[in-house]
Symmetry: D2
Subunit: 489 residues, 4 copies
């Protein structure tokens, strides 16, 4: 329940984290452990999955469209991935069409031997780099920005693989948490801003890297620490080494991991995601109170914030919307002539509860507004006398270029409308978002430090922490606008 | 969320409702509406589904193993089921191996024309009747008890189909909610005790029958009334008629529909299932209080009772167990040598929340006890200092013969152990069940009326409301035992 | 090569034998042997196959649409068919839509125990019998005429299974070679006219029944003898018994088995099919000589007759038409706008050979004439200066009701046209058929004995050997017409 | 019949041509025509197929394991391959594991735009070239030698695509018939020795290239001429141009195309393949006569030579071995305990014909000898009193490195044994091969010109026409040995 949020985006109305990565060094049946880890990270990418293993003599890769379960829990597939070292990847399509050859880990036979890469994030200068590489004779097999990294390694003038790899990292911009495999061992690294998460764990003698702590939990591993922004860790038979190829860095991890992407049972930046979400809900109850009979979560991602809101306000928490679990298997309405029916395949109002009541709905975010529109109407149809809505994040006004699937700006409701217009659009009696400062307070800070913000919050503020080489048409938001956002949110 | 419970029975540790039925008379694309209705009833049977339609000239049937989605939302399949009249069925295997020829609706060409039957329930004298029919030359194609009904109709000495059908009903014993189709129209009926549910709805000019009200909601239909115990309703172009072939009857609908089977957003016996479950939780808080820091539902079926328990006790409701939604696609652990890992594929403790806390877990029932055992241990591993458990139903001590998949008695934990032994077995600091009277109080009565109980509660009390012709080896529980149960529970 | 003819009917222009049956009593892995036998009989029915086995305690059945290979050579399927007794069936759709429930062996649980039936042939009074059975309460599950036999057995007033079976046989009319299984053993029988073939073989201690001798060859079994027309053979642990339930009978086996249905390596009625076909070709060379440069078979079924024609005439046998073997997997022309191309997917002219030559094409039969039309044109396009055609059977003028898929009469070219008109239609320089008497001469007789013909030749003569109860609209051909045919052919 | 030989290699006992290529420039639905062409070339490669099309704006590729039919005759697939230019490929695995990424056409985005390559043949220095390319940073995605060509083009220092392509050709050694596509048009070329075939045709305004003339026939195209050894032809909107990048060359096309690879209805080197095979049979009858009752072809590839043998010797041609067409779908014997049966799944003796007769079997070649061994035994079991064998090619003693799948030398029966030992091994009364000179006589020459042989016959003589850079362990046969072979064969 209220958790992994996988299928809930029935109206294409959520931002989507685009990848999860997982690696194991030095464990029996390493690929089987990777499969478990990827299964726990499935909410980070549901279109495809891949696993690469190294058995001391050869690399083995299997990639498949679809879920981890049904593919990587098959005996025959796991047996075809032998060895004590393995890494894997789940993905949405980021840059690149959804096709098997874009599914990661990507693999290449370099002169130094095999080289596999699993990448969570997105480069913001991949297009430019690719153009240069093709000019010099590199042949790309995928449309993935990750392949750029491999070609940079292959054509680097340095001699050792690790020097070539660092040479490549220094040329790329954007967000990347990488797990790589070579015949010598495993490399994990995180971009200098640490935009996408990466944690390190331990399972007996094995070292594990994963996008989230839940992936450690699922296989019974211990959390050791986060891979730090700008850190590169190598694991081989000769031990674990940490390198800082970028010198001093200023971390800006993605704040949306707290809002929606991470599972509530993960711990991110040292903080329980569930606690942060409850804290945002409580903050919202204080910033934007409303007099109603019950607090109703939009399932499932709104639940922790709703519990926080209910506890802070003293208004009862109730399940006013019941969600069919079967949405996992999308039910396609087969006949046009029944589309006019008020079909409620995935959510149904708990009418007996709602009728005659004033309610506040709690959701994590509004992207296009399509979900909110339908949910508010469903509540009214069920007999609610007042329907208020509170959102556990600031208005989403800017696209993300760091590995999150956001619609183009023109489709973001909050980029087109004021909050009042949004309230009218979704037909709510009132609508309010937590403020940017409120969000930072829920994270334990005083508010957003405008000069040195602790997180990447570009989707709310437009304050992008890297150059946008491939997107030079994106207007830099002026400082006034930024202040403005803070006031409005 | 907290709802349709489909996949949650990860340890084979729930009673399972075995069928859902749905029928539409006089609507365009009737089969498409049936598909929607069955999708909403998917929690009542997930192994197979079937739909039969009548287009005024011929009957069309499609049956498939697996879910409604993926089968009956395909355009080609719906187009092959034309007509304005259709009925459908979702099923677990009840009596009869899981094979396509047991999938309903069953259909036969009788002398009077085609005859289709969708059956929710189970006959308790089907074996005996079948033996007689075979002796007289009837050839059975399935192992389903439902086929018995059709042969009784085919070989009846009466002349009209409806007289033959009533003749058949008078010979059968047990639980049955039936939706039948003939070239003339649709027949819906419910056994004299009304053990299994059946409701009637209206969608424009169309008449609908369904196992639960949610199936009306999903297609935008209005609830009209329940089909009453012992009532037979015919719908044809000449109108709707109600017949009472059994005279006076005393209703005993299944109480477990309230406890677990029905969706919380259904209304059953005129009562909101969600409300009844919250009321059971509140009753439990009063009967079996405990001093703890938080109330934690066992997701998802324990949630409404947990909310009721939390509200009645004033103890905070928290999500201490996070469930992966991806369990829908069962992930099979592929390698033996990783089985020793404490794998948490489906449930994960919210450790940051639990650590150092005293908790009470709320679940709907205990069947074999395997789930409870694992959940309690998971909570202890996550650092809970005390783990108490409260169950929102009385101990399940007896098998059901009316269309519910119960393990043989010897495997029911409560049939083998006292509550204290069960607490020790699952390693809980305390364990308690709601009393039988408490359950009836949650339903709005004073307690169980031992002489005229309002529901079938045989799984708790052993008090079976019909003869068990095919199960004459089942001991009749003595009255003392029955009283005893009430005290112990 | 030139043999089993399976896929060659590219233009839907052959009569099709509709079934093959095979049974084994008392052999290890009986089902595996049945699979081999059915594979050898695949040319007799390619749409579906089924096998039933008896393991001393239970019957097991598997049925599948498609070929024997790919279904019944799978280990898991054969393992699920244990036991020392098994029978099987390959089929085209005869009476009854092509659906899994029409696939044989049919099976029923009778009072006496399980009863499985595999049937080659077709009943000519099944419709009437079925109507009576339904009136008395029998429920049919298939549209197959074979199910009629089973219901007659089930409802017979006799006491033992064998008496009930004979009771049933005495009520049915038409063509049937049956292999049945009961817990006691196997029953094989052939209708009083012996229209469809059935042979008996021996493999160590095992007894085998099969439609053709090639099915004995394929599993290394010895041919023992034919099951005789009107004979019923039982095989059980107590031995082999032969019964003649119909008294004296006059055999009329199907002559088309020699012309086309049987494999050339089979021996039918004590005669090598290959030899008979060569003899027909030789007869044709004598009856209908032509002055040409080469004899060219229409592959593959025309090959033996072409060799016979070439040897008798002294004209060289050459491969003027090359057939792609890949036609097994039908290649569907994907784009409408290339249909105008003279696409030659399945047959291609050996142009280098043909150019400037006079040729005679030899084919086994003409049904609709579509193949002949295309083949003649292909030869002309390849540069043949004269194209003559000789057919190794008399004109096919009448439908078959005994288990052969013939088009309705109106679509039989020879029923609509004289031979001269046919020659013009297919654009041949000359066309001729072997005479009816010539056909009988090739079988070693003097000619057709008009009073007591040795074979069923109704498709050529209209002289049906049984009443046509279900087809009483078929005109009885008058005797003059019959004589006429002889002259014309 | 006797033709395309696809499935006949039941005992893995044939040399296998490894590829077929087909290209169309300037036709509507070009991909559909390519599909037809590939279907006609299916005998040249049955494991995988691929098609690439160019629609004036983008390249589209579909590749699939398995046959052309079932993949490239599907409307959806053809629709996804739009455009007026397309090429395709059928393949066995040559160098490179059988995996989708080795399936051709290979495609790369070069700086000059897309570049697709379909390759029939095999390079003999690909390993060396690949090693150099990887050292310089090229990343290979397949194990196919064809990819080497693309990387040579991508990294060439020349400026235009055509110059880069010729630069690449000058570095490669071995056999290659290539069809390439660029946005400008199509390139077809053949290595300087013309080892593998390539012909050019015309269909209206469209230009076609294909491995064999049958592929022109199938789509109704006209044969124009062969692409000449060492010729490079470009086709674009500005017309057709021919270039000779290698200057003077001496052609050595593969002689085995006549013996077995090409379809009998193809014309190769200006000669009808069927005629050449008959001529080899006639040559064999003269060189190696035998007194027997009948000439029996080993189906299907032995048929033309058998007809030639029969006509030259006057001994009757008869079908003594009947082949089941169903072998296309391999029937796997499912149960170990029936393996001892003399199972004849694919070939069956026509025993009624053979019994008591002296026969000579005609086959095209002997590779491992397994087929011959079984066929001879089958004839003896069927009652033949003498079994002689004549082979329509010289003994196959050497591996091929030019795109033919030959077993390693040690497994070639003729590399291990004298002809007498082979006769004893296969248990024939006599065995003889056509002589090398006889083979050349059948091609219309006086015999083999030892100084300037007109064909590549390395598999018979060991006289390889190119350096074997990647196989420098292959002993150069001395001239004496070569002469020796001629005598022995």
């Amino acid at each position: 329940m209220l958790t992994t949020n996988p299928f809930e985006d029935e109206y294409g109305d959520k931002l989507r984290e685009e990848c999860g990565v997982f690696g194991v060094f030095n464990a029996e049946s390493a690929a089987a452990i990777v499969a478990l880890g990827l299964h726990a990270l499935q909410h980070r990418g549901q279109e495809a999955a891949g696993v690469t293993s190294w058995d001391g003599a050869a690399f083995h890769t299997h990639r498949a469209m679809g879920h981890v379960a049904g593919n990587f829990d098959r005996d025959d597939i796991i047996r075809a991935l032998p060895g004590r070292v393995a890494c894997g990847h789940v993905r949405y399509s980021t840059t690149g069409e959804t096709a098997l050859r874009n599914v990661q880990p990507l693999f290449a036979e370099l002169q130094s031997g095999g080289f596999a890469v699993a990448h969570n994030g997105n480069l913001s200068n991949a297009v430019k780099l690719r153009r240069d590489l093709v000019r010099r004779g590199s042949i790309f097999q995928s449309t993935s920005d990750t392949e750029t990294i491999i070609h940079l390694v292959a054509t680097s003038q340095y001699r050792t693989l690790i020097d070539r790899f660092i040479d490549a990292l220094r040329q790329i911009e954007g967000a990347y948490s990488l797990i790589c495999m070579t015949p010598e061992g495993m490399i994990a690294c995180r971009d200098p801003l640490g935009i996408r998460p990466l944690v390190m764990g331990k399972l007996g003698d094995a070292t594990i890297f994963a996008s989230e702590t839940v992936a450690l939990d699922v296989c019974g591993a211990e959390f050791v620490r986060e891979v730090e922004p700008g850190e590169l860790i190598t694991v081989s038979e000769s031990g674990i080494r940490s390198v800082r190829p970028f010198g001093e860095v200023r971390a800006r991890p993605c704040v949306f991991e707290h809002v929606y992407f991470s599972r509530p049972d993960s711990v991110s930046d040292g903080r329980s995601v569930y606690d942060v979400r409850k804290a945002i809900g409580a903050e919202l109850a204080r910033e934007r109170p409303v007099e109603v009979d019950m607090v109703i979560p939009v399932p499932d991602s709104g639940v922790p914030a709703a519990i926080g809101y209910a506890q802070a306000s003293g208004i009862p928490f109730e399940l006013g919307i019941i969600r069919s679990h079967y949405v996992g298997r999308t039910f396609i309405q087969p006949a046009d002539n029944i589309r006019h029916l008020g079909v409620k395949l995935k959510h149904n109002a708990n009418s007996a509860l709602i009728r005659g009541k004033r309610i506040v709905l709690i959701d994590d975010s509004i992207v296009r507004g399509t979900t909110s529109l339908k949910i508010v109407q469903m509540m009214r149809d069920a007999g609610a006398t007042e329907v208020h809505m509170r959102i556990a994040s600031p208005p989403t006004r800017h696209s993300c270029f760091y590995g999150v699937d956001t619609p183009e700006r023109a489709k973001l409701l909050a980029a087109r409308m004021t909050v009042e217009e949004m309230a009218a659009y979704i037909n709510a009696d009132s609508l309010a978002f937590v403020s940017v400062d409120g969000l930072y307070r829920a994270l334990g800070e005083q508010g957003r430090d405008a000069l040195k913000p602790s997180h990447c919050d570009a989707c709310f503020t437009g304050d992008y922490p890297t150059p946008l080489t491939d997107h030079d048409d994106i207007a830099v938001p002026d400082q006034f606008a930024l202040l403005d956002e803070r006031v409005m949110a």
